[in-house]
Symmetry: C2
Subunit: 334 residues, 2 copies
DNA sequence: TAGTAAAGTGGAAACGATTCCATCCGGTTT
DNA sequence: AAACCGGATGGAATCGTTTCCACTTTACTA
């Protein structure tokens, strides 16, 4: 592999001049530019990334941690981040968790790995990391932002949708469609975002004169399978309901799959509303009515903030992107 | 940030000794090890990845190109690659294409980017790259493997499932379930793997005494939407059929969504068989019968081969992992 | 015409690790 | 007792860039 020294020699210029031409900064004459360019061509010179990183102290790489790659939820978020990273001419390295149970360890190990490899900044998603963990990470790599978290004292670096408002929107949607007897499949207990959306849901219900305490409520883990299990549990519980709120779309898909399997018509006998607005929600039968969370936008804004932090750019950053109900077919008006 | 020099000084040893302790090779005394370890702790020393890469000429990074990140098809493959890469203690950098139309340009640009950034090896998936492109890539980075491609002269580095056999399996499954009047939604014309599976499908049909020429056949682009469109087109075509073969699961999901929407019972009036065996196929209503392609295994084997190529390891590599029909609910026996 | 500012240039130093080489030392062999 | 061996060690050289500094040339000003 040719080095910049070879290029300089071949072009008949000094090392500094060659570097200036190739990096494209500093004063150089037209003639020098031409000769260096020619030498680069002839030698098929490609600058060594490692040498640049070593010299400049920046790797032009952003590290991403995401709890899971399976399923339909995180993928579009990763994609949004990828797009923004690439648009800024930089590179992305992703680490994934293996299972929800090991999320904390996976996140810690993944982030360590990313920091070790010299990422200029980190963007992390997930709810497993504790404040102490985050403090530790800050030592490793002080440039980071958090997605879907809200840590006191770090608000500046936390980017999340307004789950409380979104949960309330779900409740209002069901109420306005005429439903009074509701049921809920909520998400993991440890997931703070689940707590928030449930709180919003309950608050809105109370305002409508419905006592949230009376509502049958089971817990899933955000997976489609747990949605199936949740639906069964609810049905076996015996309490009647005309509408079901699922704390995410994947559970809603599972729930619908179970309900239809046992002969419950959706939305004829039971309406279902989801949460997140994943792409897949358009393709279920019936198409899923859901609370559309602007995940892509939130992620992009978080990344912009990170990029600004790392490279001093001034990409626009917005924080308030509202959620909205996406009306499709799975909620009937009664 | 502390450097290895600082560590050596603090531990009262030479540069070489410090390096040997940290890298964990070469002869060092117990005492030296202890003192260096202590100094590392105290100074919170983290070796500079860039410096290592520069010196060793290896980045311990594998580059991955995948045509798309949206949808459910590529994600598990990326995950399988990720798992294997991490298991070998190395890092993965992924590049994605944006749209199927721009796949070729995206792949070229992505691979260039990856090579530039000093990946030790490349694993590429997709059907858009032409042999000439691949020759060009070989110049940039001679260490690469191809997923789902078969290039003459590069068989060693090509890893694909046996689409022909898998297509035949789909045909046999439908035939054995009693279906005689079939229809097909096939994939993109440019996708060679689609051609192969269709060929296998037709050959098997012919062996069963069915003339493939008589079968109504429409073309999609592997997306769920195109599956919906395909199903409509087929229905409007007027030819009667009792079973539908879709060239991938996502189109099958789209097709089912359309069929049920217009009141065609699946599998009562029309059976549907998919292809690939994506996770999602278990969750449709009815659960999708499909040809399970062992994508994860194929990808893992390809990656092992690449790892062996790059690092001289001897990970096991198998090439023949058969596809099989996954019987669920969407194909009725008549 | 002399003086000065600016543009252009070459090469040394620096980034932070690994590796090679020369040296040293204690113990074993002859 | 001399020779030898191998483990342990320190430090110079190296990887391929960028950047800084000193220097020359050119162009412009007074």
């Amino acid at each position: 592999m040719a080095t910049i020294k070879d290029v300089a020699k071949r072009a008949g210029v000094g090392l500094g001049t060659a570097s200036r031409v190739i990096a494209g900064n500093g004063p150089v004459s037209e003639a020098a530019i031409r000769r260096v360019r020619k030498a680069v061509e002839e030698l098929k010179f490609r600058p060594s990334h490692a040498a640049r990183v070593l010299q400049k102290g920046q790797s032009q790489t952003i590290g991403v941690f995401v709890p899971l790659i399976q399923g339909s939820f995180y993928t579009p978020i990763v994609h949004a981040i990828y797009t923004a990273v690439r648009a800024s001419g930089r590179q992305m390295v992703v680490e994934f968790g293996q299972t929800p149970e090991s999320e904390r360890e996976d996140a810690l190990a993944g982030v360590e790995f990313l920091a070790e490899r010299g990422c200029d900044g980190l963007i992390m998603m997930g709810t497993a990391l504790r404040p102490a963990d985050i403090a530790r990470i800050a030592e490793l790599q002080p440039r980071f932002v958090l997605l879907n978290r809200s840590i006191p004292g770090l608000q500046e670096r936390c980017f999340n949708p307004d789950h409380r408002a979104a949960g309330a929107a779900a409740a209002r949607a069901l109420y306005e469609a005429g439903h009074r007897r509701l049921a809920v499949i909520e998400g993991r207990k440890t997931a703070h975002d689940n707590t928030l959306r449930m709180r919003g849901f309950e608050e809105a219900l109370r305002k409508c004169g419905i006592d949230p305490g009376q509502i049958p409520r089971v817990r899933g883990d955000f997976s489609p399978d747990s949605g199936r299990a949740g639906a069964r549990e609810l049905l076996e519980g015996g309490t009647r309901f005309t509408a079901l709120f699922c704390a995410n779309d994947e559970m809603a898909i599972g729930a619908i799959s179970y309900l239809r399997e046992v002969g419950v018509d959706v939305p004829g006998q039971c309406s279902v509303i989801g949460y997140d607005g994943i792409d897949l929600s358009a393709l279920t039968v019936p198409a899923l009515t859901t609370v559309l969370i602007p995940w892509r936008e939130v992620a992009t804004n978080a990344l912009h903030h990170l990029l600004n932090l790392c490279y001093g750019s001034e990409l626009p950053v917005t924080r308030d992107i509202p959620a909205q109900v996406l009306w499709r077919k799975s909620v009937a008006h009664i």
